[in-house]
Homo-oligomer: 404 residues x 2
């Protein structure tokens, strides 16, 4: 029997306790031993919880109990989650987590602490919810040079973009719907402005390369500026707009970004709708593979948390065989040099100015009073310079979305 | 450094040797040690192969060399692959394989032999080519009761069905195209008649349940009877026809089958086209997840073979923590009791007879001289009985495809 402690009896914590309870027999059979929840840490009084008898308020109870070998940190937020995780590792307990913020910000330090104390820090649930993605990327694709990762990693924004596309509603309306359905927080900025996706691509990039980039050095753009008009133009291109976290090599440089992209319907990512997530990974031998499923929610995320608990119970070590290092100055590469084609919508200019400044472009049908076009591949720097020149000619930028 | 031997320098064997050569540095960095190919077994003389200096013709050279700790059996076919695998395991060498026939037919015995000799028998490459599916199912979804697996597991038949749908060509034409492109063998029966898919669902079922069913007890139906008319009727239903390997519970009984199904476009499996494979897995906590990618080919399959080699080099044990047993009498359950809706096309009868015999059905537009309908959910036994009765009324069955 292994004894575990859960930190945080929120949505994921409750789901994890439920899974370990409901599937107890199956787990015991598969693992050859039982998984016993000894404590659940939460500062709240929760007399009506079925787990109220396991609740403790002082983390020291867990840290000082030598019977607890695995801790599931499901609190969310950076602090005190980071401090509790570090203390647990230093107390010789392995930690599993769903906390993308802590993994993205403190992953290297925590993995070093784990290694120093002969334990592991696992994080399958931090990215893609229940979708197996961290372990498959680290283990099943370990023989490949990973050349690209592009993922729909946030269900809230994907729901909003799907509703705009299929329901013809505005961003604001779709966001209100998502909030009413409980898919979006009352303060939706972390989802909508791309911060959540950014943390996740930061983690996936580290799994693929062994180097953890600084979150605030990853170019991050959300979807709040996407208009229904843009969605319609994309539709005309037989494509939809998706918020992607991306890690991609261009000319040997490793770029990382979070931004909306126009994804053509022949790409499997364009078909990932509603709250679902999908991660497309390219390796130099495997080609393209995609992982698809529910990227959030109590039950799906609990599935990933428990997978890591079972891995530890079975004696598996760290999921990434190569220890993570902090990324150097060159990762991610300077986004100004990233090259892509761009859909651009402007008012106040005509095609003459655009042709002179952007050279060969492809014009797209759009609403009256605007002119829309698709550029040739240009660097970010070049695109910005050209837009500045168009602005000097009286042009007003209405929208810009990169082509996947 | 670990020394390995490859058995069989065919498509997958060459791909594996190429990967280990091309990605040598990366692998050494990730693994912390080198993977060295010491021997390649092949009965053919291959003086022009870049690996000719590694070729041996006598399996004993490999079996008797204590330096070889891992053998990659990439020969295909049941014999002598089974005997060589058993001998390698008994000689204390772990074996990785891409050979679905051997895993599906002899998996239990080989895993027992591996356990008895303290080594492992891994088979990620046997199903889904390069797509991570065995390890994610066994490890990442280990906390779930797996309630269903439905997979497009054969690229050849999926290419044929895609060409019929998108290209409007007949089964025979699509098959000829597939043969010309090298996607189909000259004798395509193992693919086209569903045998290949059957072996793969047999393996996935064992990973999910711990019980290996007998291949010849799994209901297996191929795609050679699918007509362009049927594809068109499916299209009218906003669906496509896909050959699926399925493991599904109904009323507590576990059914397994390989058969073409009409899959509606709102299901992600319907969008897996051409030679791609996709495996949809449902778990009681994770919900639906899907794995997508290239299910065959030298490079993709090599990716999976090497993943298993690296797992062994890193000291990982068997992928399924629960040892496989032979399935009992009840697995798979009697297919006569499997319930589904059926698309049926007949000639020689009118709707009066159909209404009387099948009760409430939904009529579908089809070609002149035929009548097509979708039944209510019926068991296989009931469907067969009803078709016999319609045949007694002069009806001639033209086609029948189950609805997913």
């Amino acid at each position: 029997m292994i004894n575990i402690a859960i930190m945080g009896l929120g949505v994921v914590g409750s789901g994890t306790a439920d899974l370990l309870t409901e599937n107890r027999q199956l787990i015991e059979r598969r693992l050859g031993q039982a998984v016993h929840i000894k404590y659940i840490l939460d500062i709240r009084d929760m007399p009506d919880s079925p787990y109220s008898n396991l609740l403790v308020k002082d983390v020291k109870v867990i840290l000082q109990d030598p019977e607890v070998s695995v801790v599931a940190e499901l609190m969310g937020g950076s602090h005190p989650a980071f401090e509790y995780t570090l203390a647990a590792l230093e107390a010789g307990k392995s930690v599993v987590t769903s906390n993308k913020e802590v993994v993205a910000n403190f992953g290297v330090r925590l993995m070093q602490a784990a290694a120093a104390h002969g334990v592991s820090y696992l994080f399958e649930a931090s990215t893609g919810g229940g979708i197996p993605v961290i372990r498959p990327l680290a283990r099943d694709l370990a023989g490949n040079v990973i050349t690209e990762i592009s993922g729909i990693l946030n269900g809230t924004t994907n729901y909003i973009l799907t509703r705009m596309w299929k329901g013809g509603v505005s961003f604001e309306e779709a966001l209100s719907e998502a909030q009413a359905l409980g898919y979006a927080e009352r303060d939706p900025s972390a989802d909508v402005e791309g911060k959540d996706t950014c943390r996740k691509i930061c983690i996936l990039g580290a799994v693929a390369t062994g180097r953890l980039a600084q979150v605030d050095r990853i170019y991050t753009e959300g979807i709040s500026a996407i208009r229904l008009t843009d969605v319609r133009v994309a539709e005309h291109m037989d494509a939809s707009i998706k918020l992607l976290g991306r890690m991609v090599y261009q000319d040997g440089s490793l770029y990382m970004m979070t931004a909306p992209f126009i994804v053509r319907h022949d790409n499997p990512l364009s078909r990932i709708d509603d709250v679902f997530n999908g991660v497309l990974v390219s390796g130099n031998y495997v080609g393209d593979v995609m992982f698809y499923g529910r990227g959030a929610g109590a039950k799906a995320t609990a599935s990933a948390v428990v997978a890591d608990i079972l891995a530890l119970a079975a004696g598996e070590g760290p999921v990434c065989r190569e220890p993570w290092r902090e990324a150097g100055e060159n990762v991610p590469a300077d986004f100004a040099n990233f090259v892509s084609r761009n859909y651009i919508a402007m008012s106040g200019v005509d095609s003459n100015a655009i042709d002179v400044i952007f050279g060969s472009v492809e014009y797209l049908p759009t609403v009256e009073g605007e002119i829309a076009f698709l550029t040739a591949p240009v660097s970010e720097r070049e695109a910005q310079d050209n837009l500045t020149r168009l602005s000097a000619c009286g042009g007003v930028l209405q929208s810009r979305v990169r082509l996947f």
